[in-house]
Amino acid sequence: MSRVTSRPEFSAQTLSVLAALSEQPSQWQHGYALAKQTGLKSGTLYPILIRLSDRGLVEACWQAEPQPGRPRRHLYRLTAGGLASATGALAASAQQQPSGRQAAAAGARDARQPSGHGVAVPVVR
């Protein structure tokens, strides 16, 4: 007997990144700004950005004119498909009511990492 399981499309952290990027979808954003918005560490944020880029949801480019005294920054924004996916996922996530232990875990995580978007996020691995 195979067990049927339903898994959300995006993890809580990924949703927070999508939420941050979708606030100003046309604007390019750099990694540190995203890290501050989402509360994620660089070791978590960049693998998420890489995965989103691999799926064509995020586009990246290097800053055209670097600031004096510092290297060029890598910039990110949602693609058109990424914006649609993000909007859908965030809406679905907001509607979904986590229950029981998952809700507690999600609440605890949200308390630790305030994303500031009020997004109810599903708990995944």
């Binding site: 005294g69 510092r70 890598h74």
Partner: protein, 402 residues
């Protein structure tokens, strides 16, 4: 930019070369972004995250883990095979054996990938490959060390007499060998046989765990699980070589000891049960039951794995136990039930024990054959071909017996 920052940036650029070309921008991005992070702990944490991204993208955990594992195993095996002055030309032979095994373990996976495709998805297949490689290396390393200690001609006359008798001579007359040196290694036929066996085991494991073989995870798990169960029983029966004499500590002189009877039963029923279970448990990608020929294939694979795993398990751990017994007085003391033994008796016991360890080759040869035969029969009987039974009476609708 400070000197330290420049050094860090250069190190970052150099480290970025470790990752595939398509990923280097991302690693460079984390390092570049560090300049925008407030200095101090926060910047250090950011850079630590960058190191993690670098390691992750370079697939370092997997690649380095495999490389380190192989290097450690290879170094251990080479240490065991390192030529020593006292062992003479035998050292060369055992070095060849170790080198051949290392070559087999290193090259066969590459050939397997070329011909059978990448490993099956899932941890079972990968773990099985790693365990097989480790077992083969350990088995051959322990075997050559035992062989050296068994073939070393003692210098003292009393010991030499015992050694000559153990080698099949009735006395020291005609018993060759220079005291303090090796009397010679195994025949080249024996070496080739062992190498073929080892290559066969590694090759078969690689095939069964490859994508082309399409062996279900449940089949692998059932086969290996049955093999371990049987292997534990076999190890209890033959902890010190394939010899009744060696098992006396466990089984004092009884031919029908329950454990021996259980081992005989498992030898034939283990692959049979594994074959039936695996052929019933396997499912296609969509959850449906596969055709009967696929089920039979899964059953045969499970039975082969069961007895092959049991043989390798027993041979590796048994040879290791024998080596420990020869090297550790406390284990020898325990195996002989604390009986007081003179130095000469101990030497004789060690010689005989080391000699009997070679008997595991028989297990390695015949157990998989028995497993193959039993599982083929069991899988064929448990999964009969859907016979096309057409109704002979006219007018009846065509029926197909399921």
């Amino acid at each position: 930019m400070s000197k330290l920052a420049r050094v860090m940036a250069a190190a970052g650029r150099g480290a970025a070369r470790l990752v595939p070309a398509g990923r280097r921008d991302w690693v460079a991005a984390v390092w570049a972004e560090a300049h925008g992070v407030p200095p101090g702990v926060e910047r250090l944490a950011w850079r630590a995250g960058g190191v993690w991204v670098l390691a992750r993208e370079a697939l370092l955990p997997r690649r380095i883990g495999r490389a380190v594992l192989f290097a450690v195993a290879g170094a251990g095996a080479a240490w065991a095979a390192w030529p020593q002055p006292a062992t003479g030309h035998l050292a060369e032979g055992r070095f060849n054996a170790i080198a051949t095994v290392l070559l087999v373990v290193a090259v066969l996976p590459l050939l397997s990938r070329r011909f059978f495709g990448p490993p099956s998805p899932g941890r079972v297949a990968r773990s099985l490959r790693v365990l097989c490689g480790a077992a083969v290396l350990a088995l051959v390393s322990a075997s050559v060390i035992l062989l050296v200690s068994n073939r070393l001609v003692p210098t003292r006359p009393a010991y030499r007499l015992i050694w000559c008798i153990a080698q099949g001579w009735s006395n020291t007359q005609g018993c060759g060998g220079v005291p303090g040196r090796s009397s010679g290694g195994p025949t080249w036929q024996a070496e080739i046989l062992v190498m073929l066996l080892i290559t066969g085991y590694v090759g078969l494991t690689l095939f069964l765990t490859s994508r082309r073989a399409q062996i279900a995870r449940s089949t692998l798990a059932i086969g290996v699980g049955t093999g371990w169960l049987f292997g534990v029983v076999m190890l209890a029966v033959d902890p010190l070589g394939f010899s009744k004499w060696a098992t006396n500590p466990w089984l004092p002189g009884s031919d029908v000891d329950p454990l021996v009877a259980l081992a005989w039963i498992l030898l034939f029923s283990g692959p049979t049960a594994a074959a039936v279970l695996a052929s019933r448990r396997c499912r296609g990608p969509d959850g449906t039951r596969p055709p009967h020929n696929v089920r039979i294939g899964q059953g045969i694979a499970a039975g082969l794995l069961a007895n092959g795993t049991a043989a390798m398990f027993t041979a590796t751990l048994g040879t290791g136990t024998t080596l420990l017994t020869v090297r550790s007085p406390w284990l020898l003391h325990w195996f002989t039930h604390g009986r007081h033994m003179t130095a000469l008796a101990t030497y004789r016991y060690e010689l005989n024990t080391a000699g009997h360890a070679g008997g595991y080759v028989l297990m390695l040869m015949f157990f998989p054959v028995i497993g193959l035969i039993m599982s083929s029969l069991a899988a064929a009987i448990a999964n009969p071909a859907p016979s096309d039974v057409w109704s002979s009476r006219p007018g009846l609708p065509i029926t197909y017996r399921k």
